[in-house]
Symmetry: C2
Amino acid sequence: MKITSEEIAKLAHVSRSTVSRVINNYSNVPEDTRRKVMEVIQRYEYEPHSSARVLAGKANKIIVLCISDYNDGSRRWRGVESPFFMGLIAELVSAANLHGYMISVSIVSSSGDYGKLENMFLNREVTAGIFIGFEFDFQMDTINQFIEKGFSMVVIDPGEDMKRADNVTGIYSEDEQAGYIASSYLLGQGHRRVAHLAGDNRLSSRHRLAGYLRAMREAGIQEDALWIRHGNFESELSYQLAFELLSKREAATAIFASNDAMAVSAVRAARDLHLRVPEDIAVVGCDYTPFYETVGYHLTTIKISVRTLANLAVKAALGLEPRRSLYCKAEFKPGITA
Amino acid sequence: MKITSEEIAKLAHVSRSTVSRVINNYSNVPEDTRRKVMEVIQRYEYEPHSSARVLAGKANKIIVLCISDYNDGSRRWRGVESPFFMGLIAELVSAANLHGYMISVSIVSSSGDYGKLENMFLNREVTAGIFIGFEFDFQMDTINQFIEKGFSMVVIDPGEDMKRADNVTGIYSEDEQAGYIASSYLLGQGHRRVAHLAGDNRLSSRHRLAGYLRAMREAGIQEDALWIRHGNFESELSYQLAFELLSKREAATAIFASNDAMAVSAVRAARDLHLRVPEDIAVVGCDYTPFYETVGYHLTTIKISVRTLANLAVKAALGLEPRRSLYCKAEFKPGITA
DNA sequence: TTGTATGCGTTATCAA
DNA sequence: TTGATAACGCATACAA
């Protein structure tokens, strides 16, 4: 069926052990022998049987991507359906490929899923795990238990109470910075009445708001002159909030929205009110979701590079990145809406 | 570390073989023994070591999703970046989960990747493969070679020259039907001047066009009264085509666009020309991309259920679906644009 | 520097 | 119906 190390050994006139040593780059094999063996390996396109390797104690070259998916009646978050996830997974797969690893995807909702996951780690079926969508307390509990067991983990956007340990890396976005950059830009353009469409209660949202507040404070804008509307990261509500905001007599002249979906909705509301963008009302989004370019214009936004994030995540998962807290950079991305 | 079948055997006062028989649901074990063993298994949450199983001859419960990614200078298709893929993978992961399988993602671009893939099949690391984005001749060659080797495969939207065999299932969309439904609907609404914004040269696009032509023919519309514009599946060009189409003096009163991105662009062009949708111009899309609902209205479109497609793909991959050619249903989905 | 022997946890074959 | 035993393909401790 497939050539084994045994046969390679025979063909190269050495023992299986030597073949193994060559494959695993051991130092105690002379250059001559190594070359001789490598030649046979390449000629026969030999690749070790991964299950056999794992069984014999090596780790499998697979990173498992765990996506939380809960539904407790009131709250429901299908990670697999979020556009953010969909972009991320593509980048993770590419990043892992670069290091010769594959990404396996696992949806975890029930506690039984946690058990399966634990098994995969214990069986060395996977080298590491990247967790996404785990931020609520009841989820962080399990995450923390995993951390204590010493599994190599990367948690993207974790809850605040995540345990610190050598085997876990938390990845955050520079959200406060993003909010600050966006708001500062608008202030720098001469705007005074800058509104903020805030997202939901998640950390990223709260931090973006904090950045907005800092920028406003530094610009000497009075507390009571702030325009903040709390919504969520979706379009429908954002449209309503923006519409209502812009319908006022003394309306804002600029809006910083907590993500691109909200920004696009704000632009739509503005147009429906016959306001020109950016002349009458400037809009800056956040995240940079390339998909929104299909709406027909380039949104001015703050780009948080999913590619960078994915690369950092993979490196951290493989232990190639010493930092245990990573902050994904936020950069201004020019467009035509501000 | 982890409990093994050996220890389970001891605790249940049987031999490893019997534990194995219970785990694998062999018939030759009496109900009493089975219950006794199962009890221990459940109490200790025993799960067989997957690598050991694979090494001993069983197949791993993993389906590999192979996404083509080529870049030959002139043509470039990064499957991982297409929105269609991103939606599909989410559904595939869910569908596979239902059967207790995991999805591993592999990007295949170089010929070395094919070698790795072959190894995975040979090593029983994966049970089956689902291939997406392989449609050009030079790719189908390799696909056909894989088919000949007997690997269990599902190819989504394959090229026409795919080999027929018992171990492969081709999945197609009812594209001709989709085009027919959309166009018939518009004709049924009384429209006579129905235009079609065609996609690129891909099969799906060509079949949708064919459906449009059939509907028009059946309605007795003259050949020379057809309005067809050839574009691609993206928004920029579609906007231009629609704009130019609708600027004419005797313009079309309805448009069937080959996908939702194009339809949304057409709506935008109409609005920029101060035409009311659907009063002045009706628009029907195709595919149903939920993401587009964030633009603020529900597009009238033809829904091709990615979920159904994913479920069929997984079933076929696992040999639970006898048909070797599957057609993913196209359904009318009402909206406000037609 | 190299080879031999053993173990990894299962499934499958065979004999009882 | 059951249990002993031999694969499966590799890594590694130990011996040479």
